[in-house]
Symmetry: C3
């Protein structure tokens, strides 16, 4: 057998190197960065794109309401589960910019990353996806060069820069900064309960675009009441202990199962008990808000 | 002549296979998914991205007004013509979620796909781009695994999932589901007419961002009046038969041809007769709305 | 030494050609197009995508306020510096569509391109990034085929089409059209001054999302006052010569250094002197607007 021609081998090797570079350029870097914030513009996407053109950059629109950490936390847990492992989320809802709140990256058990001030925003993803590790961003190495004078736009100078470098493989998770205790600042929500055939949970969103009122009574807790689709449910909403709404409502699968303008109780797309008016606005019609002093109770009629 | 060295051949074949995989990964999957909906967030893009990282994912912003099927239909026909064949549009404006309206994919004659509830949204693209075929989405195979319990977010669980799989070549159009009759639910608009030198058509949009009032009198119909740019046109708007606006207005090519604050009649960028105030808001100034009971008539002065 | 086998060579050459094509397809075309406009939708991204699927297409959200050329100019200079050389920005805020304002492409010294009507939008990027050259778009060659009848949507028919072709390397900068004088229409802002220990500058934004009031007193000018962080600063705002606000305010690095609800003076993320209320809305609270008749003066207390 003859040995391969050196010239041909060199030829093949050159192509091979080119191909490897090409493949490496693509494979090393193809993660998504998903940006949510209470302000818009194309600055944070630009920072990410400048780190690597191979990133897939997405922004959440419409914006998170200004300074609304609860909404930021809810939107993260609503959004993250449909994205693949390796996705890096950046959340910049940061009313305390410049205070002692830490800047962290949370890695969850499903292999996703969350870059955010540790101000409660990470509460729900930590709880529901599980904490793999939390690291504090070391701003000495993870800050856009030339921005040392800037103290009010961490979203640009630190968070999106760090997120992009992590997503693109420029830094490893270890290079984000020192390991912290595996916990984050929590938004404390009272757990849903079932007692004497009554399920009770905090009202968690109301005055959104659709005006549906959603509670923290999860599907599993609700199913303990032994209700089946089509059953009537006795519903009470209390605000600071006072009854704010009381009616009997059909438990159905979806909006179209009641006439337009009628009330329904259903399991929403996050898996929680919710109230709505078919093609109407429940929260506005009955002036129902959300928060710790708003409780929903449901029992089998 | 010597035969090629087996070792070299294997070497070349290995690179070749790598290259083919790389090329296939790129070529099979590079279609756009364009998402329009009456709600926002990063859930539908995430579903698409999880299907394939090779997709190019776009979302329409600002949102379609809530439950506004007419606006969804108009925006589709306004948007689709500039996108290439193979683009998959997802429209989720679905006030009847959970009712018997079908979930379909329309393939138009220009090789584009439209994934939507068949509730009128597809009316204008079907009419103007032509129906190649309509298939009903078979939710037994085209539904995100693990979402069988969810009945209120077809946009996430069925529409964007199906759109992404179709765009990425994971399924063929045939695998969407069974073929239906080649028709969709239509929004019936009265056709524009020309009689006795008067062109008449329904007013179709008014209170948008710019406040321009656009009719369904298309350019070809309008040109039958024999008007040329610069001519004065007698314009009448009737609401439920009553005259709501009556003036003589210059027919010009574009805004800047009249002074700021002055009225103009022009052919808009969709090719229809429209009225505006240069840098003003026609619809608000004259309180002109849109719909079947709003008619625009124009005749040569 | 034997010469390479012709068959192997052809084999290698075929792969080589395929690889080169693949690489060329990727390398020629990977620039970002960043679209800002005072209207939304997916038409301009679609035009860009139809030019080349290799482009990385971004849109600025929320929209630029309608007809607000100042806001368009400010957003460009706020956004551009974080994007890489080669990025093509399209700005379509064009109240004078159809008038004699020129359609141009500005190339700045940092290797970025700006496609816009020359109506003031390019003023700040020209001044701060430096003009390399300005070319007028030759609409005979740089207009989407089949849109000759359309005179009101230059954003679709000319600007985004030209931007995409430039970003994708379909045309060179020279092919945009004829070279103009190296200048653009300027928005004239009075320069910041320091006299007798008082720095004065125009108020440039106020009633934005956050309600921070920012001036054109840049960091270098401000530092001439010899203030250090923590110092108290005497602040006066005049509207048309009348005092509209007068207080002594601490100069701090960032919001969190004063209690919630308290006033602060800081260097904002663009590098200019700004006033805010921590987690409040300065501009609304004190009814402060922006423009040439609004002046901020600061002096060491």
């Amino acid at each position: 057998m003859i040995s391969p021609s050196p010239r041909l081998f060199r030829f093949g090797a050159a192509w091979g190197a080119a191909l490897l570079l090409l493949a490496a350029g693509r494979l090393a870097a193809r993660n998504a960065v998903v940006i949510q914030a209470d302000f818009g513009g194309a600055v944070m996407p630009g920072v990410c794109y400048s780190v690597s053109r191979e990133l897939d950059i997405f922004t959440v629109q419409p914006l998170i309401p200004l300074y609304d950490i609860d909404a930021a936390a809810r939107n993260l847990i609503y959004t993250a589960p449909v994205w693949p492992a390796g996705t890096v989320f950046v959340s910049v809802v940061d009313p305390g910019v410049g205070t002692k709140r830490k800047s962290v990256v949370l890695k969850t058990r499903n292999g996703q990353y969350f870059v955010s001030p540790d101000n409660g925003t990470l509460s729900l993803v930590a709880e529901q996806l599980g904490i793999e590790a939390v690291r504090e961003i070391d701003e000495k190495v993870n800050r856009r060069p030339g921005t040392e004078w800037s103290h009010t736009f961490h979203g640009r100078d630190v968070y999106s820069y760090t997120a992009a470098r992590l997503a693109a493989g420029v830094i490893t998770f270890e290079q984000v900064g020192p390991l912290l205790e595996p916990k984050v600042v929590k938004l404390e929500y009272p757990p849903a309960t079932v007692e004497h055939g009554v399920a009770t949970g905090m009202i968690y969103t109301s005055k959104g675009l659709l005006g549906n009122t959603a509670s923290l009574i999860d599907r599993q807790t609700f199913l303990k009441l032994g209700l089946k689709e089509g059953d009537e449910v006795a519903v009470t909403i209390r605000h600071a202990g006072q009854v704010a709404f009381e009616k009997t409502i059909p438990y159905v699968r979806t909006f179209g199962e009641v006439p337009i303008g009628q009330l329904l109780l259903f399991i929403n797309s996050s898996g929680y008990v919710a109230l709505a008016i078919n093609q109407g606005n429940f929260a506005e019609t009955y002036n129902i808000d959300s928060g710790k002093d708003w409780l929903l109770s449901v029992r089998k009629q």
